[in-house]
């Protein structure tokens, strides 16, 4: 029973962390794209090209490897628990 409780609450906590990190990572990505565009086109603040550039970059991010790395939020705690379990017992 305690084991099920740990799994349920652990999963909830990890999901919250996962959501927060994925929002943060996406925001960082978009900001970097905006900055890069601003560097190359200093006078262009709002245009269709800029919008498509950022959109393409975000689409690339959504299917990229970095986004998949966030799944480690679920993997690492599980490994830590397994390691503690092994060393304590």
């Amino acid at each position: 029973m305690a084991f099920i409780r740990l799994i349920v609450f652990g999963f909830l906590a990890m999901s919250v962390v996962y959501l927060c990190i994925s929002i943060y990572s996406r925001s960082i990505r978009r900001e970097r794209l905006e900055d890069r565009w601003a560097e190359n086109h200093p006078e262009d603040v709002e245009s269709a090209e800029r919008r498509t550039y950022i959109k393409d970059g975000m689409v690339k991010y959504e299917s990229g490897f970095r986004k998949k790395l966030i799944v480690l939020v679920y993997v690492i705690p599980t490994i830590v628990v397994g390691t503690i379990l092994y060393f304590v017992n």
Partner: protein, 224 residues
């Protein structure tokens, strides 16, 4: 107001520190002198400072708890200064899948190891006892032993590697949360506030304009 906030912050900091001091592992250099099994009838207060029944058992109102009695080297200032010997008693309980997260299920085996390492003052077998928790004589609270390991002599000084890494990761995690919060504020909250401020300006301007119109209408009634 600022003082209240300061007091609140200090209280939270102290409580968090106490929680960590209770839950993080510590190592004592000790000589085991005996082991006991004692029936414990918990009060509603000291119940908090005991774990629960062994993880395969059912929780009852009272139960037998295993104890390990040792003579240990007193330490002060996080183990930097060594004092004389004193008696210490550890409880030996499963933490199971519950807080604190030691995932300890080998209580009986640990008791066996401890019984194997019982020694006298004349022929001492020194061990390190990894434990967490506090000893309080007034409330009958004992620290919980996690592991026992034999060492060469009493002059061995354990180094808290786990705690070192724990605090390093705690700092990294804290900085990461701070970075996340700042990013959230910069990209999400500030634009909303800007837009709200903008709208407020528009509304104010609108009100001023309308008032101007009413004023003009009123003025038109005045005799010139």
């Amino acid at each position: 107001m600022r003082n209240i906030r300061r007091i609140l912050r200090i209280t939270l900091f102290v409580l968090f520190g106490m929680l960590l001091h209770y839950a993080l592992p510590q190592k004592d250099v000790a000589r085991i002198t005996g082991t006991d099994t004692i029936r414990q009838d918990f009060s509603s207060f000291n119940r908090w400072f005991f774990a629960q029944a062994d993880s395969g058992n059912v929780e009852a109102e009272n139960r037998d708890v295993l104890f390990i009695t040792v003579v240990r080297q007193q330490t002060y200032l996080f183990g930097l200064i060594r004092g004389g010997d004193d008696v210490m008693v550890y409880r030996n309980e499963d933490t199971g899948w519950i807080w604190p997260p030691y995932f300890k299920f080998d209580t009986r085996d640990l008791q066996g190891e401890a019984q194997d390492l019982v020694s006298t003052a004349e022929a001492p077998k020194w061990v390190t006892i990894t434990h967490y928790g506090w000893r309080n004589r007034f409330f009958t609270i004992f620290p919980n032993a996690i592991a026992v390991k034999q060492i060469d002599g009493s002059d061995y000084r354990p180094f808290p590697w786990f705690n070192l890494f724990f605090f390093v990761f705690l700092t990294i995690g804290g900085l990461f949360i701070r970075a996340m919060w700042m990013q959230f504020r910069e990209r999400t909250l500030d634009p909303i506030a800007d837009r709200a401020g903008d709208k407020l300006d528009h509304v104010n301007a609108d009100i001023a304009k309308r008032r101007g119109r009413i004023r003009r209408w009123l003025d038109s009634w005045k005799t010139k």
